[in-house]
Each structure stands twice: as structure tokens, then as C-alpha cells.
Amino acid sequence: MLTLAMYFNHPIFLVTILFLLILVNISHDRGKDLRKWLPTLSIMSTLIILINPFLVSRGTTILFYFRGKQVTLEAFMYGITMALFIAIILVVFISFNLILNGNRFLYIFSKILPRIALMIMMAIRLVPLMKRRLDEIGDVQRLRGMSMTVGDFKTRVRNGMLRVQILLTWSLEEAIHVTNSMKARGYGTEGKKSSYTPYFMDKRDWVWLFVLAGLMMLCFYGGRLGYGKMIIYPELGPWQFFWIDWIVFCSMFIITSFPLFIEGREKIRWKLSI
């Protein structure tokens, strides 16, 4: 999807992708995470749309002059596609953060980089613990009169870092206990260990992967021939779609909304079976 968005720059394509991705996102968690990002997203997009025409004066269709610099329709359009593009990237990453939970992350990376994956998982698990400890240390330090909120800049920085230092000395010793307990459970010993993975590829999954890959190829081929793209510089191209544009558009539509189809079908089945 990301590559698709990078590939096409026709505004209609981009708007459709963005819309579908937002729907996909809503199907994950009813748009809870999306709402948190919405202010950043909208501010960024508006800024790009507004700033681009004033910074870049390429293009031939001049709208008006601003302090002697020409403000062109082309640069304006480019700003819009750019903003859409960045919005798409952000929405994809929000979905990505939601989908890729710890188990799946470890499953994907433990095949290629087992040690790195283990270290990342361990660190992710340690972060909430460290936060809790920092709170505890902070409580004690406050009782001793070492605050982060009052005082001049230097003492505040010193007090803050002192907390982190206390956390370091506290936790380092415990890492050795963790190691011992890992060793007792047989980590790092020679010989194979089996593990249960709840994810596997079905025959159905392969078929769908194949179909999606085919549609993807179609999109790329169409894109190479210049369909689904709009000429912006030096002069704004025409808006209309040719019939091959429609084919490319449809295959893109199917790829992007594929998660929606699956989720929707499950929902319908769930409702009907009761």
C-alpha cells in the first residue's frame, strides 16, 4: 500500500487510498489511535499545502504574485499530493503499530535475527517496569526535597538524571538474576528446542497472496506506462481517466480494501450465526 501510494500521484487515487486506509484503521480499534494523531496529521497537511506554493515557484499557471514571487497552481497541486502522501504514510504506520503486537514481532524476526529480536522484546517488557520504578524513586526523592518542578534549570536537570542513575544501579544487579533464571530454563544450551507458533499459512492464504501479488504487478505495470499518475510540473496535466486508468484504479482499490473485505465478512458471519 505504501509503495502504491508512492507510485501513484493522481489526487483521486491518493484520496481513495487515504479514505480506505482510514476505514481499515477504524476496523482495528474503532479509530481510537487515529483520533490521537488527528491534530498532528491535520496541522502537518495544512502546513505543507500552504507552504509549498510559496516556497516553490516552478510551474506555468500563475495564480497570483506574492512579494514578487509567482505562486503557481502546479506547486499548489503538488503540495496537496505531498500532504496526502504523508497522511497516508502516517495512517499506515498507525495501523502497523496496532497490528504488529509483541508475539507477531518476535515471530517474524526470530527467524532472521533471533538475538536482536529477543533483546528488543526484553527491552520492551522492561520499559513499563522501569517507568514504575522511576515513579517510586521520584516519590522518595520528593520526600527528600529534590524536585523536578521547582528550582533553576541546572538543579532540575541534575535531580532528573539522578533518578535515572538510581534506576541504573538498582536494575543492573537484577539483570544478573534474570540471566540466572533464563539459564535455569535452558536458554543458550546446545540442541534444538521446539516452540509453538500460532501463525501458519493456509492453502487459502497462499491463494489470496497470489491474487494480491498479481493485482500488485498489474498496478506496477500500469504505473510504468504512466497510468494513475498526473503530470504536475511543468504544466498541470488533464484530470480525466482513460479506461486503463480505471483498471489500475480497480486493482488498487481491491488491494487497499482487502483487510476490509475480510473483516467485514467475519463480522457478517458472526452476526448471522447468532
Partner: protein, 243 residues
């Protein structure tokens, strides 16, 4: 297992070469994708080296702990804008535990802290910038009398800027079609105050806490025999620092 690793190296190098071929031969210039691919390949080599090395279990756990601390160290400073000690933690780790550990802690701390703050196309850049920060600290510890506080301070100060410049690159690359020199200069000028704050906070942290942190980590390293570099001679400068 060793076979799989070797093939992984070959795959990484092939992808790297293919990326360059794609750039030069075909007229398809997607700079963001290209830059991310190249960064990924470069970092992959470091990760593979770590995977192939024989390493103690406790060293893995210690590194994971240091990553978590580097990521969480931002929390108490949430009230002070653009002051974050993550860079300081990474530099210290590089100084005490060597270049490779510095790189790992830097790169992985970026992933881990972004797990909580939100991943994005900037993650690989952040990984690379912090990773090289830790690595350079580890590489330079033998030379230049890095035991002296003022040299360490200037090291941290310079890195505050280099980090910001590296992070600016992702904005530049994602806007490559739009590229003008004014645009580039504009981005670097607008990030100046942020970089300066980063550099100054590095200096403050290093001058206030580097001695005690290096002492703590060195003591721990000696006590448990962690991450000794057999190829490099142990850094004498830090063995008695702070006494």
C-alpha cells in the same frame, strides 16, 4: 545455523548492490525508499555480526536493560522541552562497553522508544544516527584522551548537531522531487535551535554525570566479566576514573 547467517550476509549485500543498480540504470527515483533500503542494508551487517558472535546470556540481558533505560530516560524530562538524556546514555554505553554494544544500544533504543511514541519513516534514520553515535564513542575511546572531560564534552556537543542533521535528511529525501538548495538550507536553519538544545543538554549531562555513570558501568563490567573486548586493549583511562 552458521550457513543461514552466511547466506543472510550475501542477501544483504546483493540487495545493496541491486539498489545501487536500480538507481543508476532505471529512471525510477524514489529517494525515500532507496535511502531506507541502503540504511537497512548497512545496519543489517552490524546486526548479523552480533548474531554470529559468541556471547554470554548475561551480556544480552544487560544490553536489553541498557536499551530500556536509554528509552525510558526521557520520561523524567518530559517537563523540560528538548532535553533528553538518551544520547548521553548511549554515548556512555559506547565508552564503557565498546563500539558494537554502543551501536546496538543506540539503534535498538530508537526502535523501543518508538514502540511507545509511534513508529514512522523516521525510525530507521533515528536508529542509524543513535547507532553511529554509540559506535563512534566506542571507537574513539582509545584515542584522543577521551578520559578528559572537555574532549568528551565537545564530542557530545558535536554529536548533538550531527544527530539533528542526520534526522533532517529524512525530510529532505521524502521531498526529493521538490528539491532546491533553499529548501535544504531552510530545513537546516529551522532545526538549528533544536540541535543546539540537544548539543547543550549533552554537554550538561556529560559534565555532570559521565564520571559517575562510567564508574558504575565499569565496576559492573569488571565484577561480572561482561563484554570484554579481547581484540582491543582495555581502556586504562577509565579504570581509576573518579577515585
Amino acid at each position: 545455523m552458521a550457513n543461514a547467517r552466511a547466506s543472510l550476509i550475501i542477501v544483504t549485500i546483493t540487495v545493496f548492490v541491486l539498489l545501487i543498480v536500480m538507481y543508476t540504470v532505471f529512471n525510477y527515483h524514489n529517494y525515500l525508499l532507496l535511502s531506507l533500503g541502503i540504511i537497512g542494508c548497512v545496519m543489517m551487517l552490524f546486526f548479523i555480526r552480533f548474531e554470529m558472535k559468541s556471547i554470554k546470556t548475561r551480556e544480552i540481558v544487560i544490553l536489553a536493560l541498557l536499551i530500556a533505560i536509554a528509552a525510558v530516560a526521557r520520561v523524567p524530562f518530559a517537563g523540560l522541552p528538548s532535553v533528553q538524556p538518551t544520547s548521553f546514555v548511549i554515548i556512555t554505553v559506547g565508552l564503557v562497553f565498546g563500539a558494537e554494544s554502543g551501536f546496538l544500544v543506540g539503534a535498538l533504543a530508537a526502535i523501543v522508544s518508538n514502540m511507545f511514541l509511534g513508529q514512522g519513516p523516521w525510525t530507521p534514520w533515528q536508529m542509524f544516527a543513535w547507532g553511529t553515535m554509540g559506535m563512534s564513542a566506542g571507537l574513539l575511546r582509545q584515542f584522543l584522551g577521551m578520559g578528559k572531560l572537555w574532549i568528551l564534552n565537545s564530542f557530545g556537543f558535536i554529536w548533538g548537531f550531527i544527530f539533528g542533521w542526520m534526522m533532517n535528511l529524512w525530510i529532505v529525501f521524502s521531498n526529493m522531487h521538490n528539491f532546491t538548495w533553499e529548501f535544504l538550507v531552510g530545513i537546516y536553519v529551522s532545526s538549528f535551535y533544536h540541535d543546539l538544545a540537544h548539543a547543550i543538554s549533552n554537554v550538561i549531562f556529560i559534565s555532570l554525570f559521565s564520571v559517575s555513570w562510567i564508574r558504575i558501568l565499569n565496576r559492573f563490567k569488571k565484577k561480572h566479566g561482561l563484554l570484554e573486548d579481547s581484540t582491543l586493549k582495555p581502556s586504562i583511562a577509565y579504570d581509576h576514573s573518579g577515585k
